[in-house]
C-alpha cells in the first residue's frame, strides 16, 4: 500500500486522455468514448479493491464484530 498505485492510475489517466485525443482527431468519437469508459472501469476496480482492503484493516485493528 504505497505510492506506486497513485502513479499507475495517473499513467492510465494520461494514456487515456492521449488516446482519446488521437481517436477524436481521426473522427472515431465512438471508440474514444469506449476507451475512456474502459479506463474508468479499470481504475474503479482497483480503487474498490483498495476500499475493501481499508475496511478489512480497520475491522482487524478495532477487532469489531
Amino acid at each position: 500500500m504505497n505510492v506506486e498505485i497513485i502513479f499507475k492510475i495517473a499513467a492510465i489517466g494520461i494514456l487515456i486522455t492521449v488516446l482519446c485525443q488521437i481517436l477524436k482527431k481521426s473522427d472515431r468519437d465512438d471508440i474514444a468514448t469506449l476507451v475512456s469508459l474502459a479506463g474508468l472501469i479499470i481504475v474503479l476496480t482497483v480503487v474498490i479493491g483498495m476500499v475493501a482492503d481499508l475496511f478489512e484493516s480497520i475491522k482487524d485493528i478495532f477487532n469489531l464484530y
Binding site: V3, I6, T17, S36, G39, I58
Partner: protein, 127 residues
C-alpha cells in the same frame, strides 16, 4: 520521522490529482479516493499501537471491559465516517457528506447510551 513520509505522499497525490484535473480526465475522482485510502492506511499502524495500550488499560478492575469496547467502536465509527464524508465532499456533494456525518453522530449517540447510564449510576451511588 514517519510524518515526513505522510506529508510527502499527500503532496505528491495533490500534484498528480491537480494535473489530472487540468487534463479534465474523469479519473481524478477515483484518484482522490485512492490517495485518501493510502494516507489513512499509513496512520492505521499508529492506531493499532494505541489500541493495544488501551486494551491493557482495561485489565484493572475499576474500568470494566464493556465501556472500553464501546469507546473503541465509537473510535472506529468516527474513523470511517471521517474518511467517507471527506471523500464525498471532494466530489462536490456537500449535502450528502453532511448526511453521512449526521448518521455517524446518531450511531455514536446510540452506542454511548450505556456509558451515560453507567455514569449516572456511579454518580447516584456516590451521593
Amino acid at each position: 520521522m514517519e510524518l515526513y513520509k505522510i506529508i510527502g505522499v499527500g503532496l505528491i497525490c495533490a500534484f498528480v490529482i491537480v494535473y489530472l484535473k487540468s487534463t479534465d480526465s474523469n479519473l481524478a475522482m477515483p484518484l482522490t479516493v485512492c490517495s485518501g485510502i493510502i494516507l489513512l492506511s499509513m496512520t492505521a499502524s499508529y492506531l493499532s499501537d494505541f489500541l493495544s495500550i488501551f486494551n491493557s488499560l482495561s485489565s484493572n478492575e475499576y474500568l470494566d471491559g464493556s465501556i472500553l469496547k464501546l469507546t473503541i467502536k465509537i473510535l472506529a465509527i468516527s474513523y470511517l465516517v471521517e474518511f467517507s464524508a471527506s471523500a464525498i465532499e471532494d466530489f462536490g456533494l456537500k449535502s450528502i457528506a453532511d448526511k453521512v456525518v449526521f448518521a455517524g453522530k446518531i450511531l455514536i449517540l446510540t452506542m454511548s447510551a450505556p456509558i451515560i447510564e453507567n455514569l449516572i449510576q456511579t454518580t447516584v451511588s456516590l451521593l
